[in-house]
Symmetry: C2
Subunit: 183 residues, 2 copies
Amino acid sequence: MTIKSRRRGPLLENAILDAAWAELAVTGYEGLRMDAVAARAGTSKTVLYRRWPSRVELVLASLRKNSAAPAVAPDEGNLRDDVVAILTWLSDRYQSFPEIMRGIMVELPDVEGNITQSSVHFMTIAMDRAIVRGEIGPAMPSPRVWRVAMDLARYEMFVTRKPLQAEAIAELVDLIFMPLVSS
Amino acid sequence: MTIKSRRRGPLLENAILDAAWAELAVTGYEGLRMDAVAARAGTSKTVLYRRWPSRVELVLASLRKNSAAPAVAPDEGNLRDDVVAILTWLSDRYQSFPEIMRGIMVELPDVEGNITQSSVHFMTIAMDRAIVRGEIGPAMPSPRVWRVAMDLARYEMFVTRKPLQAEAIAELVDLIFMPLVSS
DNA sequence: CTCAATAAGGTACTTCAGTATCTTAAATTT
DNA sequence: AAATTTAAGATACTGAAGTACCTTATTGAG
């Protein structure tokens, strides 16, 4: 009783991405097996590798499909709380898929282009707003300065393999980020 | 003409660590094959795994044997230059074995215990000296603050997969570290 | 010196990412 | 509607980490 129908194109692609997502929920990133994804999607590994060159790329595609970044930057009315909100979002996102994010950071050549985009975008918006409000001086500080909280947050999550606690976020913002941008 | 002699204990162990070091020089971390190390050491994989539970542990042991941290903390006479020296050392060390350090960061559960020790040690010495000199206030700042330059340096090397340029080090120190500890 | 305990060396195995190759269904072209 | 092109699906393979298990050289205790 072989079913002879063959899905193609986006239909098949979506089925695979959903299968990967379901597998991720069960096994996490480390435990994800390409064979298992193929089996769940009712296809074979060959088909996966025709679309994505590696496991991490497939996982990333699945993540993109299933967990989009929020459309708008947080707007709490002041820079400090905007940055807390950005880091909290970052950490929550990481909380949901800590292994996935770690795997992507590790295996993808271009972390900057694949992982940091949204938070960089949100940070620049928050900084612009703060400048307009007059909260900080009129000149945009060096990227190293305005990225500092994000980068430290990501480093800490990477090393500890855990999401950030609220106190950690508060310390990053109040002991490091705010003093630097306010000076 | 089989040689029947069997090395044991430290003699064998050193031979393996040296073989691993030689392989690393040829292949880098990613390319290092356990079989190749075993072959070069004139033994077999089983013996390696009896001593080290994984490739990364063997590599780390080899790194420890072959590339010790400097015995004394840099002492440039002022905090700024001490921190530049520490970061420069960190980056040079990374320059020699970028892949190795990355592999260790990725695969070892305890980065803090295995990678950051020396630089943490040097940083606390530099901070203590600065306090004694009166360069900064008498209270030791939060670890998050005095670790900031090191952590950012390591994050940047991890993401870019390259050692830090001198300007990057200067920026980390002059735009971030010094303003925070001097305030 | 003999014998038991330890650990070295060898071989074969398992697992999984990624590749190669072939067959055939489905879409496309004429 | 037949021919051609595209890509899905199946199966088998390669390469490497790590494991299992067995044989035997070396150590060292009596």
